[in-house]
Symmetry: C2
């Protein structure tokens, strides 16, 4: 079968399932999710065996230790996936919520009711747990999902999908609600991005390369996620102890994620006082520092940052430091180099806090808190499918509600337009 035909078959199955999914009762979806969790635990040995193949292939291909760790499934991680399914089952179903209903002058009653997006195409990279997490969230929000995971995880993903799909269908969900693209070559993804007739929305999750490729090639609407060149600006009026704690947290607590920071911007009037002690602590924690010339004057032993440093999402224990004249310099720097993800100011100045909140254009803008909170669970959404850094549809962490759209429903009594 040719690739296009294969994709159309998958698309038809998913589209047809999406009609049934859209009107599925919440309790059926929840029962299926719980059954999927149980099925994962029951089949953990086969999952681990399949994963071992991926791990071996990965080692032979020379994947980094970090990549191998992302690929790994062990008993604990399988338990976490199962647990995640149960948690999604316990979340409130957004479908059918009417957030707004009003009456018009001519007595039409118009409501905006939450309905599923339809068929969601997920394109992601190495971590096999995304297969289960994404399927769970899409299903709970009443969607069908077509999954296309990374080549390295093909054996793990295949078995995971087989297990959860079987459990889902045996427990009342329609055939086609979870489809998986087994082909691993890139041409398939390109074709998938143009299946407008069958896929309503594409969500790419992964590095900048993947996301740019989807944005540039897709004709289906895309929710762009994740790339984060995040900053913290330490204002003159900052509580410097608080600033230090937040910078250390935002850089080192989990450096490889998109809401970790890459650069700090330090007001020139506190740089001398703030930087030496911070630098000492960061260096102890294994962080490499790269500074502008003014910060190098204070911290003589650090590397000089290049223009490229300001634009880089390190995703690693490296921090760039720039001394700025004032909040204006910080705002300009973020405007020039930021990726509209998460930005923070540490300040005790009312005006500056308000200016930062107003003028910074990002999915999440913080006053006196770590950027690491840009996350569906931390926001209280229960779970997330990604973090939108585009402006259409939504911005920031996307939970169940963000996997739905609205439909206008209108109750009339014979009205015609004059």
């Amino acid at each position: 079968m040719n690739v296009k035909q294969y994709l159309i078959e998958k698309g038809k199955l998913a589209k047809s399932a999406s009609r049934k999914m859209a009107i599925k009762e919440t309790h059926v979806k929840n029962t299926a999710l719980k059954a999927m969790a149980e099925a994962l635990m029951e089949n953990k040995n086969s999952i681990i065996s399949a994963n071992i193949k991926d791990m071996e292939n990965g080692r032979q291909k020379g994947l980094s230790q970090y990549m191998l760790d992302r690929l790994l499934l062990n008993e604990k991680r399988i338990y976490d996936m199962a647990n995640g399914l149960n948690e999604v089952a316990s979340l409130r179903d957004p479908v059918g919520e009417v957030e707004k209903m009003w009456r018009t002058e001519n007595n039409l009653q118009i409501g905006q009711i939450r309905v599923p997006l339809g068929v969601i195409g997920m394109i992601y990279e190495s971590r096999p747990n995304v297969t289960v997490d994404a399927a769970a969230l899409c299903i709970k929000a009443g969607n069908s999902v077509i999954l296309r995971g990374g080549t390295e995880a093909i054996n793990s993903n295949t078995i995971l999908v087989n297990i959860i799909k079987k459990a889902a269908i045996e427990n009342g969900l329609p055939q086609g609600c979870i489809e998986f693209i087994e082909f691993t070559d890139r041409q398939v993804v390109k074709e998938m991005m143009r299946l407008n007739e069958y896929i309503d929305v594409l969500i790419p999750r992964g590095g900048a390369g993947l996301i740019n490729s989807v944005v540039n090639n897709a004709t289906i609407p895309v929710i762009k996620t994740g790339v984060g060149n995040c900053h913290i600006y330490i204002d003159e009026s900052a509580d410097l102890k608080m600033a230090e704690d937040i910078v250390i947290n935002a850089k080192t607590q989990r450096p490889a994620v998109c809401n970790a920071i890459e650069t700090i911007l330090v007001n020139k009037n506190v740089a001398k006082k703030f930087l030496p002690q911070l630098a000492e602590k960061l260096i102890k924690l294994g962080v490499e520092l790269r500074g502008c010339s003014a910060s190098k004057n204070i911290l003589s032993n650090i590397k000089l940052a290049s223009e490229e440093d300001w634009a880089t999402e390190y995703l690693d224990l490296i921090l760039a430091i720039k001394v700025v004249e004032s909040i204006d310099g910080a705002i300009e720097h973020i405007y020039k180099y930021g990726t509209n993800h998460s930005e923070a100011i540490i300040t005790n100045d009312y005006k500056n806090s308000q200016r930062f909140l107003k003028e910074i254009d990002a999915a999440a803008v913080y006053v006196n808190a770590s950027t690491r909170f840009t996350d569906g669970s931390q926001f209280g959404f229960g779970a997330e499918i990604g973090i939108s850094t585009q402006k259409l549809h939504t911005r920031g962490p996307m939970g169940l509600k963000e996997l739905t759209t609205i439909k206008n429903i209108i109750y009339g009594e014979g009205q015609i337009r004059e």
Copy 2:
């Protein structure tokens, strides 16, 4: 100057203006809108002169009477545009509204505040009033706008933009808030659709050809608008007088618009009673009828509908008629041929009304009312920039709120992530 460079210059101007627009006070935006309205009235003679050139060129090019009418600007229409500007000034500014704010377990205060989309690219066809309407809505919602209108209206659009832009800038709005693409060749539009660095959202307004071209070529996020193959299903339990009034209204009140109907689906148990009188009235109103074989059995003098008829948005005084077994047949037909715009059921049956509202997947689903109400003004939004028929961002009429997005703002007190 080459086209790419020209577009980048426009993009830079608009992007830079969008930062200033985003924090512009409401009263400044309103003053500018009112000044734009006055400037139109003051310059009505020059506008009419420019429009005469377009009308002459149009006649020479052999545009249809209908197209020429869309192109025409006269004193009344200039007054309507000015009036539209004043109405937009009187609408409530959505920017800064916080629809939701909550506290997390660790005491972060998170709010979702409405902010402008940024730079909006409008690509539209012949009607020059779109130039003014779109600019007004984009500006009021705090955006910059780059306008690219139809070739036929180039003289009218150029003068309209010059007038409103001058008035806007003289009244406190930034240079670059309204930019206009003077080049009329198609290559320019294609390049414009890929200016991701400078344009946040594209809104095409026009026929199916234009919209498909934008969907297929754009790398910028698109809000798809408008194509409407809309239906009314007349249920067995319908009040047939109400059904007749609604069908006549939805077909004939303004046939060339997207929310007019193209096909009616009639329950077989009422077809014989309902169709003859309806047909007589519609034919008197100049409507051509094309029916399935069952309806031709009832209305012998009408044309037989082809498969193509079911899929056509006539935008004209033509109506297709199909007799269906039950509500199931109606739902299936709409699923197969509908364009997710506006669909209506005429019924007095509670279960059927609920099924139709639930199972029909469209921007607007009606019980006992004309589909012609799918419109920003009719919905009470004050104005509209188009009707979204896609699922991302919003669905149905788009008013000012739909020209904004959200930003998460987080008030902390030193929180770090554990």
